[in-house]
C-alpha cells in the first residue's frame, strides 16, 4: 500500500448563529482517505462534529480542538487527533455539523481534515529509501518575494486572493531528500543604511502543495500555518485574532513524509487576501523544507 499525505479543507463562508448541520465534504475519487486529525479556524469554541464512514456521529456533542491556555481560557492547539484512524471510501463524504454559539455569523470558517490517501502498490510512481544509505539532516529554502496583499483569485472560498503560482522547490543533484516538516515565515533582512522594509506579516495566506506532476496534496489551498507553520507565530496578536497557538513553534508535519529523488521537485501556489487588515503590504515569505538528505551507499 502507498500512503500519500493529504489534507481536506472544508470552507464555509458564513455560519449563521445556531450553526449548520449536515455540511458535506466531498472526497476525491482516486483513493480512500485515512482521517487522523481535525483542526478548525475562525470557529473559536463553537465546536464541530462529523460522521464516521459508517454514517454515525463520531461524538454525541460538538467537539472543540482548542486547548486550555493555562490562564483559565482556551487557545488554539494542534488539532484533535483521530485515533484509530477512520478510513473513508473512494468518493466518500464526510458530513459535518458546525456550531455557532456566538450570536453573530461566523465568516470563512475552515475545518481541516488531515490524513493520508491510501493507494494500492504500483498506483503511483513513488520512490523510497535505497537498501543501503546514509543520511544528513538538511533544510532547503525557497523564498517567495513580494507576495501581494490581495487579488482576484477565488481559489480560496470567501476570499479574493493574490495568486503567486508555480513556485518550485528543486532537490539538488547530489542526494535524494526526504521532506518531513515545513516552516514558512515572513522576513526581510535589514541593513544599516539600507531600505526599511514594510512590516512583514501575513494572516489570510493559503498554500497548495503539489508533486512534480502537479497532483495536489489537498483539495483546496490550505492555510499556511496549518501546512507550514511559523517559526515566529503571532507573539503580539491578541488571542481573538490568532488561530495559532501563541508563542509556540509547531512545525507543519508531513505524515507520511515525502520522498524526493535527486533533481525532483515540488510545486506550490500561494494565495493571500489580507485586505481586511490594516498595515498590510507585499510580504517576503521564506519557505523551509526540512528533513534529511539520503545518500545511496
Amino acid at each position: 500500500m502507498i500512503e500519500r499525505h493529504h489534507d481536506y479543507q472544508l470552507s464555509v463562508t458564513t455560519v449563521p448563529p445556531g450553526g449548520l448541520i449536515d455540511v458535506p465534504l466531498q472526497l476525491d475519487t482516486d483513493a480512500p482517505f485515512a482521517l487522523r486529525l481535525v483542526r478548525s479556524r475562525q470557529l473559536g469554541a463553537s465546536g464541530w462534529r462529523f460522521r464516521t464512514p459508517r454514517d454515525q456521529y463520531q461524538s454525541t456533542q460538538l467537539r472543540t480542538d482548542l486547548v486550555p491556555s493555562g490562564t483559565g481560557g482556551l487557545t488554539p492547539g494542534q488539532g484533535s487527533v483521530i485515533y484509530p484512524q477512520l478510513v473513508y471510501p473512494v468518493n466518500g463524504t464526510i458530513v459535518v455539523d458546525i456550531g455557532n454559539n456566538t450570536g453573530a455569523p461566523l465568516t470563512n470558517v475552515r475545518i481541516l481534515f488531515r490524513g493520508s490517501k491510501l493507494f494500492p502498490d504500483g498506483a503511483l510512481p513513488v520512490a523510497t529509501y535505497p537498501p543501503k544509505l546514509s543520511m544528513l539532516p538538511f533544510t532547503y529554502q525557497v523564498v517567495a518575494p513580494n507576495v501581494p496583499v490581495t487579488g482576484t483569485s477565488n481559489a480560496v472560498p470567501g476570499l479574493n486572493c493574490s495568486a503567486t503560482l508555480n513556485n518550485i522547490f528543486n532537490v539538488r543533484s547530489d542526494a535524494d531528500f526526504v521532506a518531513r516538516y515545513l516552516a514558512a515565515d515572513p522576513f526581510a533582512l535589514t541593513v544599516d543604511g539600507g531600505p526599511t522594509p514594510f512590516p512583514q506579516s501575513f494572516t489570510e495566506c493559503y498554500v497548495r502543495l503539489m508533486d512534480e506532476s502537479r497532483k495536489p496534496y489537498s483539495n483546496e489551498p490550505i492555510h499556511i500555518d496549518d501546512l507550514f507553520s511559523q517559526g515566529s507565530p503571532w507573539a503580539g496578536q491578541p488571542p481573538e485574532m490568532s488561530n495559532n497557538l501563541l508563542n509556540a513553534f509547531l512545525p507543519g508535519l508531513l505524515t507520511p513524509e515525502i520522498y524526493l529523488q535527486k533533481e525532483q521537485a515540488l510545486y506550490f501556489d500561494i494565495f493571500r487576501d489580507d485586505s481586511a487588515f490594516e498595515n498590510q503590504f507585499p510580504v517576503n515569505i521564506y519557505f523551509r523544507f526540512q528533513g534529511a538528505k539520503v545518500f545511496q551507499r
Partner: protein, 286 residues
C-alpha cells in the same frame, strides 16, 4: 521492528533507534551556551566556530540558537530576541546542513536559510529541549561546527508617532539608521474651502501634506486617507511610509507643524548563544 527495516504501514517515516555500538557507551552531553558574536549591522558574520571537546566523538541530536538563553545560563543585560536571521551551519567535516536559492531581491544567499523554525524560535526563555536534529550528526573529536550568520541590524529607522485620541499614525523613515533623522513631516491646514488632499517632497527631506477641506474650510482628511496618499506616492515612499493604529481609521487628522522623525540608530554587535544536546561516545574500558 527489525533493525534497518521500514514498514510504511506501521509508521509514517523510518525511525531507527540510536543504538550504541557494541564496545561503546553513550553519555548525554550538553554543550553550551557558546557565543556567536554578530556585527549587528546587517553584515554577514562568517566562520563562527563552536569548538567541541577533543576526547571522543560527539553526536548532535538537538540544537537551540537563542539570543539570551541556551540551557539555564542567563545573560545580563538581555540581548535581542532571535527575531530572525539567516544561518548556515557546517558540520565538522565541512558539510553544509542547508541549501537556499535566492532571497527576495533575487540575490543568491549562499545557502543561508532563515533560522526560525529550524534552529530557533522567537520565544525567549529557558528551553529544555531545543530543535531536534534528525538523524544525529556525527562530529569528530576536537572538531568545530561552523556557523555563518546574517542577522538583521539592531539599529532602527527614524519614526514619528502622531496620536489623536485613540488613533495614531506612524511615519517610518525609508532608510535604516541615522539618515532618517533628517526627514520631516508636516500636515498643513490650507485654511481654504474645497482643497483636495495632496503631498509633496521639498528639499529632498521634507514631506509636506496639504490636508483636504470641505466647503467650510474644515479639514476632512482621515487617518486612512493620509496613510494611503503617503504610501501611494513614490517620491514620498523614498523618504518614509505610514502605518496607522487604533479603532478609528476614519477619524479626521489635525494639522501638524513640521516635525522631524527621530530615533534612527545604527546597529551594534551582539551575541547569540547556541546550545547542542547530544551524546559523547566513549569506548568501554578493556
Amino acid at each position: 521492528m527489525r533493525r534497518g527495516c521500514y514498514d510504511q504501514r506501521e509508521v509514517y517515516r523510518p525511525q531507527w533507534a540510536y543504538s550504541t555500538p557494541k564496545g561503546f557507551h553513550d553519555e548525554e552531553w550538553i554543550m553550551g551556551p557558546f557565543p556567536l558574536v554578530v556585527p549587528g549591522t546587517g553584515a554577514l558574520a562568517l566562520n563562527l566556530p563552536a569548538q567541541l571537546d577533543d576526547d571522543v566523538p560527539f553526536y548532535i541530536r538537538a540544537i537551540m540558537i537563542d539570543s539570551t538563553l541556551g540551557t539555564s545560563e542567563q545573560d545580563f543585560p538581555p540581548q535581542p530576541f532571535f527575531a530572525g536571521a539567516l544561518v548556515r551551519i557546517r558540520d565538522t567535516y565541512g558539510n553544509p546542513l542547508t541549501a537556499a536559492g535566492v532571497n527576495q531581491t533575487g540575490a543568491a544567499v549562499d545557502d543561508l536559510v532563515l533560522g526560525l523554525g529550524v534552529w530557533a524560535n522567537q520565544q525567549n526563555g529557558l528551553n529544555a529541549f531545543g530543535f531536534v536534529v534528525e538523524p544525529e550528526v556525527e562530529c569528530s573529536p576536537g572538531g568545530s561546527i561552523i556557523f555563518d550568520i546574517l542577522a538583521p541590524t539592531t539599529g532602527a529607522a527614524a519614526t514619528f508617532f502622531d496620536t489623536i485620541g485613540p488613533e495614531s499614525i506612524e511615519f517610518v523613515a525609508a532608510v535604516m539608521g541615522t539618515a532618517g533623522n533628517a526627514f520631516t513631516i508636516q500636515l498643513i491646514d490650507p485654511g481654504a474651502p474645497g482643497v483636495p488632499l495632496s503631498v509633496a517632497v521639498v528639499g529632498g527631506v521634507r514631506v509636506q501634506v496639504t490636508l483636504a477641506t470641505n466647503g467650510a474650510s474644515v479639514i476632512t482628511t482621515t487617518f486612512a486617507e493620509l496613510q494611503a496618499i503617503i504610501n501611494a506616492t513614490p517620491a514620498v515612499l523614498a523618504l518614509m511610509y505610514a502605518l496607522i493604529f487604533g479603532p478609528t481609521p476614519d477619524a479626521v487628522v489635525t494639522a501638524l507643524a513640521e516635525t522631524p522623525l527621530g530615533g534612527g540608530s545604527l546597529g551594534a554587535s551582539f551575541t547569540y548563544n547556541g546550545t547542542f544536546i547530544g551524546v559523547k561516545r566513549f569506548p568501554d574500558c578493556l
